[in-house]
């Protein structure tokens, strides 16, 4: 009797029916697997922070789906004939979330902060072209902007800001976009240590949404900025819920607890596509995954060996099996969506016989255990990779199997991410399977990964080829896209000839949303779809 009463009571309290408490179409809930770190675009570096910053901050310009630059906080801009001066006219009447007016001083403050060596930011190198860059960012005794003969950033008036470059740069406009170049308010951050500012937890931007609440590890809540210069967003609230387990995230989507998730398990996508209440969105990306090795270690110093490894691996089958087809086979540094992509560059075809022949040519003979040997040394090396990334893990296993078929032995060494990256920094590896996030402009990553001056930068594999250096420098110092395209085509061609990596694939970004929400623009860059949240609306269909 007592038990029955208790049960009735419990059921009454809980009301065992799921309640759809949210106003349909007004509060949009996005499920994320991890929390943001910092909501300050100058210092934030991780993907989750980039995603959460996007609705809060505006950059001077933004990208369209064709990766062309279009106005955002800037109304228009002029580039001088010599390509060394960019003058931006800023939109009038733009207000910060705290009601203060936005002005050209905020723009200058933001980029001087990026250049300030005291500020820990990975974005500094993108502004290499700015006048005075070496002096302002010097490790020893950096100069202050007022000490320079030519000011790199000049506030002409409240609504005009001018940038001066030291060489014409075709990538300059492209690096001024979100989420790496959001503008921050001078009136709240002047004289404050940007690395540790309270602002990074309670940000004030000019973006379409304002931060209302950030419960660490639980959720971020934003509300529509009714004064937004681009018009009030259709959604009232954006709620980012942090749900680490991918299975649970999927359950939440099905149960109605979230309206949008990214990167569902790829094996689930076919089923999700068949669910009438859900919609699958796919966006191309700039990131690619590769199988690489130290260029300066034998036998990888021999180009025949490198090409043999390329011939040994059936990349399309990896795309099919591991990525379920949600990826493009990579032919180098640039994704097919990039203007720098050269379709005439082809990867080495899967041809194990050719791989074996090349290895034999390089002096390798089959050993007693089937593994190739040369001068008494077996062709055996370690391949390190991140243990937590499922597709990378699966890829590494398949690569190992393909190598085995041509007599090459790879030992897989799965490591946790902090350990893996630390070894990468120290160039402490033989082989690796990992990815580069990349940038929608070719310069920022191509230069720092492949230029021989960057062995302390991102050139962990110690690649060096004067022809590549030359092409990258020429492309960097040109403001004309057609010319840059020519240099990058040369770069891509030489790179493929050298076969410094087996460039594997560009994985696509897969999103699932509740049917009835419209207005997503899958911009083909990392997390680019989040730029379109300001235009997302509920149609109910």
């Amino acid at each position: 009797m007592l038990h029955a009463t208790l049960l009735v009571l419990l059921v009454a309290i809980i009301g065992l029916t799921p309640t759809a408490s949210r106003a349909a179409g007004k509060d949009f809930v996005i499920g994320l697997s991890g929390d943001a770190t910092s909501l300050n675009p100058v210092v934030a570096t991780d993907g989750q922070s980039y995603i959460a910053e996007w609705p809060l901050f505006d950059s001077l310009v933004e990208l369209d789906q064709g990766l062309n630059v279009k106005p955002l906080l800037a109304e228009s801009w002029e580039v001088s004939r010599d390509g060394l001066t960019y003058t931006f006219k800023l939109k009038r009447g733009v207000k910060w979330h705290d009601g203060k007016p936005f002005s050209a001083r905020d723009v200058a403050f933001t980029f001087y902060s990026v250049l300030d060596p005291k500020v820990t930011t990975p974005h500094r190198a993108y502004f290499d072209a700015l006048a005075g860059f070496p002096e302002l960012t010097a490790k020893e005794n950096p100069k202050r902007p007022e000490e320079l003969a030519v000011r790199p950033i000049e506030v002409v008036d409240d609504h005009t800001v001018r940038f001066r470059l030291r060489y014409p740069s075709g990538s300059f406009l492209a690096v001024l976009v979100n989420p790496r170049a959001g503008i921050v308010p001078e009136h709240l951050l002047k004289g404050v240590d940007l690395n540790t500012a309270e602002f990074n937890r309670r940000p004030i931007g000019t973006g379409p949404f304002k931060l209302v609440e950030w419960r660490r590890g639980e959720r971020l809540v934003m509300e529509a900025n009714t004064q937004y210069h681009g018009g009030r967003p259709a959604l009232d609230h954006l709620i980012f819920r942090i749900i680490p387990d991918s299975v649970v995230l999927l359950q939440e989507l099905r149960a109605g607890g979230v309206d949008f998730i990214e990167n569902p398990p790829l094996t689930e996508v076919a089923r999700l596509k068949r669910t009438p209440t859900l919609k699958v969105l796919v966006a191309d990306n700039t990131s690619y995954t590769y199988f690489g090795w130290r260029q300066d270690l034998a036998p990888f110093t021999d180009v025949r060996v490198r090409r043999a490894l390329y011939h040994a691996i059936d990349v399309p089958s990896i795309v099919r099996e591991v990525l379920q087809g949600y990826a493009a086979v990579s032919t180098g540094q640039f994704p097919p969506s990039s203007w720098a992509f050269d379709p005439s560059v082809k990867p080495y075809a899967y041809d194990p016989a050719r791989a074996k022949a090349l290895l034999a040519e390089a002096g390798f003979k089959p050993g007693a255990d089937g593994v190739l040997t040369k001068d008494g040394k077996r062709f055996s090396f370690s391949v390190r990779h991140d243990q937590a990334n499922q597709s990378v893990k699966d890829t590494a296993v398949i690569v190992q199997e393909f190598l085995k078929r041509v007599g090459v032995e790879a030992h897989l060494e799965p490591l946790d991410w902090p350990t893996f990256v630390k070894k990468l920094f120290a160039s402490d590896f033989e082989g690796i399977v990992v990815g580069w996030t990349n940038h929608h402009d070719p310069d920022p990553f191509a230069y720092t990964i492949w230029h021989s001056s960057q062995w302390k930068g991102r050139n962990f594999a110690h690649y060096k080829n004067p022809k590549v250096d030359e092409a990258l420098e020429a492309a960097r110092r040109s403001g004309v896209t057609a010319e840059r395209k020519k240099h990058y085509a040369e770069f891509s061609k030489v790179l493929m000839e050298d076969a410094p990596y087996v460039f594997l694939y560009f994985p696509q970004q897969v999103y699932v949303t509740r049917a009835g929400y419209e207005g997503f623009v899958p911009i083909p860059t990392f997390a680019g779809i989040y730029q379109s949240l300001k235009g997302v609306r509920w149609t109910g269909r």
């Binding site: 309290i13 809980i14 065992l16 029916t17 799921p18 309640t19 408490s21 949210r22 509060d27 910092s38 934030a44 570096t45 991780d46 993907g47 922070s49 820990t120 990975p122 974005h123 190198a125 690395n195 540790t196 990074n200 937890r201 609440e213 419960r215 660490r216 590890g217 639980e218 609230h237 709620i239 819920r241 942090i242 749900i243 680490p244 387990d245 299975v247 649970v248 359950q251 939440e252 099905r254 149960a255 607890g257 990131s287 490591l415 946790d416 991410w417 902090p418 350990t419 990256v421 630390k422 990468l424 920094f425 120290a426 996030t437 960057q454 302390k456 930068g457 991102r458 962990f460 990392f526």
Partner: protein, 320 residues
């Protein structure tokens, strides 16, 4: 207080403090022996060696280890546990923020486990060898055999996906934090997951302990005096049988906290467990130190209080 007791208490407190210092030194060292470092995570996808060096310098990780420890310990003595490398939040605030959900979850699971396990244990003991006993043992065996992450996901599948009764995850819903029924609905599945696992061992202990007590002379005497079966079990036997169970409950606290780590991750429950797991994966040293120090303090204090309570309660224990 007697002088003997006072000396004993002082000695024990001094020992506890030394133990905490020892724990903190060992923790600090072990943490740094783990490969990798926080810079990898802080840099995100934009890494370069130069940026990594810059971050290590800013965080003070380029200084000798002993100096880093002394710096940390000095601040900790003043009540400052430092700031998270990742978010810049004060560690103490992060811990306080997460304490509530974890206490709610572990306490709820403990109560649930006891409420179910003790009667089941009694039933199994009293009806020893019957179907009830076998059933109870089977339930217990299942309970200890389930890993909490698996059990959690199965419960979500059943109650959210199939029946649509309960929300799959989270602590509450935005805008409904004050709504008690919503909070209870969110708490049911994680509490059940954590509770079921504990239930098993509590039930087994109750059963075996009660069986032992039921064989004692005084129980036989009570029965001989004509007391009813129920009265003998509930009034006389169970009370004594519960003493070892209470000890097991006390000892199970660390297990509960350990289970909470996984349960919190599965159910996106913003507690200490998830904080600790995240900090370990991100090498967020100040947070790892803070959480572990808090746990160590709780355990050492509990031990200290138990020891002191023993010598106050039990006259046979001398304090020299």
């Amino acid at each position: 207080m007697e002088p003997g007791l006072r000396t004993y208490v002082l000695k024990r407190v001094g020992f506890a403090v030394l133990m905490l210092v020892g724990v903190s030194i060992i923790l600090f060292t072990i943490m740094r022996l783990a490969p990798g470092g926080p810079e990898a995570v802080l840099i995100g996808g934009e890494f370069s060696q130069e940026a990594a060096a810059q971050i290590r310098q800013r965080l003070g990780l380029d200084r000798p280890l002993a100096l880093q420890y002394l710096g940390w310990a000095g601040a900790a003595l003043r009540g400052d546990l430092g700031r998270s490398f990742k978010t810049g939040d004060p560690v103490a605030a992060l811990i306080l923020d997460r304490l509530g959900p974890t206490v709610q979850l572990t306490f709820g699971a403990l109560v649930l486990a006891l409420v179910v396990a003790v009667p089941l244990g009694v039933l199994a003991a009293v009806r020893r060898g019957t179907i009830w006993d076998t059933l109870g043992s089977a339930v217990a065996l299942f309970g200890v055999s389930f890993p909490s992450f698996w059990l959690g996901i199965m419960l979500i599948l059943l109650f959210s996906e199939v029946f649509h009764w309960l929300p799959p995850s989270g602590l509450s819903e935005y805008g409904r934090e004050a709504d008690l029924s919503a909070r209870v609905r969110h708490a049911i599945l994680p509490t059940l997951t954590l509770g079921l696992i504990q239930m098993a061992s509590f039930m087994r202990f109750t059963r075996s302990s009660l069986l032992e007590v039921l064989r004692q002379d005084y129980v036989r005497t009570a029965r001989a005096k004509g007391l009813g079966g129920g009265r003998v079990v509930w009034r006389h036997a169970l009370r004594n049988a519960l003493i070892p169970v209470v000890t097991v409950v006390g000892l199970s606290l660390p297990t509960l906290v350990g289970g909470a780590v996984l349960t919190e991750t599965v159910f996106a429950w913003p507690g200490i467990g998830r904080l600790a797991v995240g900090a370990v994966f991100e090498r967020d040293y100040p947070v790892i130190m803070g959480v572990n120090l808090m746990v160590a303090t709780v355990v050492i204090s509990a031990n200290l209080l138990t020891d002191l309570a023993y010598c106050v309660i039990d006259p046979r224990i001398s304090y020299r």
